[in-house]
Symmetry: C2
């Protein structure tokens, strides 16, 4: 007997559990709108996040609400969908049951795993204590506080060496996130903050991008990578290619054999799928992912599907699908349609086919690269396509409007409207070497002093 | 020899240190724009906060950036002003020196203390562990997560008693903050959230306002208090007047001798001035404040001034000035002019006179009370005045525009755009009784699951 988490006995309708409210999980839920099933969408957070713009929150250009919306508000009108904010701790694919952290078991008829990927330190998990990653809104708020805090501490310091270390920002990883982060930190330092300090020159900040391979934006065609590299250089980013990081500590990192003093290391060098393979007791595929067949079904299990970054999906030509929002979204729609058909008695369904509409990466104002089907663009044209696409991809109208207002505003002023340091008490400044997570329990009552 | 925090020797110009970048400290800094002095504004945070709208962030109507701006961005064009993000730990009025938490001493010629007030539990400091206050942006984010989290946990719970406790919100204190908070939680529960849940009815939430005296909004005329009371009642707020709180614990509170099960207690019952009296080793006046003379000078000290909530200022008619943003702001402008004149050699200056332009408090959509000079208003008229006044008081254009967009949007949709729970992992739901500060160190890498 299936039981709802609330303990009510349910109808004999099928139940579909979806774990993860990212692009894949949300798309799957929405594609199941007219399915004859109860859909339960479980996520650790209460919001759907537009991850491609997360770096803009981290660099104070946008605020959290611009790129995130309460998941249940998005699904308000979908009567067959229930949103549950909870953490999944175990899955029993034999008993067809999901266990959440409160200890409750929830039975399913079909399970869709869409838990995404997290940053991985490739066995150097200790480095996590001395560097920042950018996956969640809390991560972005933390990075924003770290960057702004470094300038604040430098302004209050009289020690030239300390100032130099505070104003050195190192991004590890030259993929889209690393490139976007480095470009935006450079713009923040060289344009937005220039006139705000009296003792330091924010434009003197060093932004270093370390990439292990021989080019940035490795998945893009060579001439787009080359454009991205020269754009970053013109923004003042020092690019170190073929440079592997071998140590990260509280005072800096070793990259390509050379020590760099810094308090701000941003890790964007590689991801691993979230713990689905462990939950399912399966041998993990590439990057910890779960191998799926052409119908997105987890190989070796019945009625369990995996989509997005958590899945390792090889298309008909033998190519592994990339970890892109577009893939996750298309797979979500696909799996929703597949299950809707199955519930109506359909026995077979055509395999998933990824429709590649291209990839975009933005470096800064007017600077972007776009790989479109049969077309490559750089510069202002790519930037305009990027901004239009992202504006329209944002999930609800309100976010679009707010982002538009913010972008227009920063456009004319070079300003950054979201320059707030939250969750960070000023007494950190007594220990400027503190590079642990700066968010502390708010003890309440701490007013402006 | 005075030394700047950066260790550079300075000119022989006078130095004015202002502690606190709230309404008073910011106004004082700006009023010193043309003074022949170096002005150093010290604050624990990096932002100036528009506190009167903080309850809207706490109830998910506005986001943090709508009501806060980086202090140094506000003072960018004021060449004689330096902003220092630091915590003051000691003041030596004899040696004319301020010590910040890094251990650095900063000499001053004139000192302006504008550190405001914090909530006080009147000797029951332990209650702080089980209740929330609303003074800072971090407080507001924490309250927003607590309120939204209570609904989330109730949706996932099957226990009727637990649900009832989770959906009971108690506000302690019937002043403007308490009234605004209670009214907005009621509107959130009864309008914004109603269609978003499947297992609970958010409109069934109980919102209880406990006030020790015989009326809400005690500083307003009786008929305005009566209007506020009936407005709150019509929004579904249970008002308990003459009700003192005698205990607060993790499972609820005792008010007027009666136990109420709740996980959400909001403390808005009284404030105490921030630690200036201790710093100065003075006998604290009413509410821990520092007594000042008619020129806002701290009695018994030379060249130290106190403005806003941290000061106890009695006007010519013997009335103690209220703890309002308008008082702090006018005192800030006054002290800036006084010091500017003094630096030019002026010996005397007329005493500070508070120009009372009235007080406003808002209860909900269309519902507000306004006490203006010679005029009292309630309902829509008061609400319109309130919204116009607050729109124009917001410090910079961008905030105004964003607030306007957000307000217009919620006006038409009853929606709340800022429904994000930050700094709160879902595994809290395993322990729904956890009422400690829910903000936890972000450990990084926690993606959507």
């Amino acid at each position: 007997m299936s039981r709802l988490p609330s303990g009510q006995a349910i109808l004999s309708r099928s139940r579909i559990i979806i774990v993860g409210a990212g692009f894949g999980g949300l798309a799957a839920t929405q594609a199941l709108k007219y399915a004859d099933a109860d859909v339960i969408l479980i996520d650790r957070t209460n919001h759907h996040l537009f991850q491609p713009l997360l770096y803009q929150v981290a660099t104070a250009a946008l605020s959290s609400v611009d790129i995130a919306t309460a998941t249940r508000a998005l699904l308000r009108r979908q009567a067959n969908a229930t949103v549950l904010m909870a953490e999944v701790v175990a899955i029993d694919p034999r008993g067809k049951r999901v266990t959440i952290s409160s200890g409750q078991d929830i039975d399913y008829d079909f399970l869709i795993i869409a838990t995404g990927a997290a940053y991985s330190y490739f066995g150097h998990e200790k480095w996590a204590d001395f560097s920042y990653v950018l996956k969640t809104l809390d991560d972005a708020t933390e990075i924003r506080s770290a960057i702004l805090g470094a300038f604040e501490r430098a302004e209050g310091s009289g020690d030239a060496e300390e100032i130099r270390s505070l104003l050195t920002f190192v991004v590890v990883g030259g993929g889209p996130t690393g490139v976007e982060l480095a470009g935006n930190i450079a713009e923040l330092a060289r344009s937005s903050l220039t006139r705000d300090f009296r003792h330091i020159n924010p434009a003197s900040a060093r932004i270093i991008l370390c990439e292990g391979s021989s080019k940035v934006l490795g998945e893009f065609p060579d001439h787009l990578s080359a454009y991205a590299k020269s754009s970053l250089s013109s923004l003042g980013v020092e690019i170190r290619l073929g440079t592997r990081v071998t140590d990260i500590g509280p005072q800096g990192l070793r990259a390509g054999g050379q020590w760099i003093d810094t308090r701000s290391v941003f890790w964007a060098a590689g991801t691993a799928a979230r713990p689905a393979a462990e939950w399912l007791k399966l041998e993990p595929a590439h990057g910890g992912a779960v191998s799926v067949d052409a119908n997105c079904a987890v190989i070796g299990l019945r009625d369990v599907f995996a989509i997005g970054d958590v899945s390792s999906h090889t298309d008909a030509s033998g190519r592994r699908l990339p970890g892109l929002a577009a893939v996750a979204k298309q797979q979500g729609v696909y799996i929703g349609k597949l299950l809707s058909a199955k519930l109506k008695g359909g026995a077979t369904f055509p395999p998933f086919r990824y429709r590649d509409l291209g990839t975009l990466a933005v470096i800064g104002r007017y600077r972007a690269v776009a790989r479109l089907p049969g077309l490559s663009l750089t510069g202002t044209a790519a930037w305009l396509i990027w901004s239009l696409v992202h504006l329209f991809l944002l999930v609800d109208f309100r976010s679009r409007l707010a982002v538009y207002v913010n972008w227009t505003w920063s456009w004319f002023t070079y300003g950054r409207g979201a320059r707030l340091m939250l969750g960070m008490a000023a007494h950190d400044s007594s220990n400027p070497i503190d590079t642990g997570p700066p968010i502390e329990p708010a003890s309440g009552g701490a007013d402006r002093q």
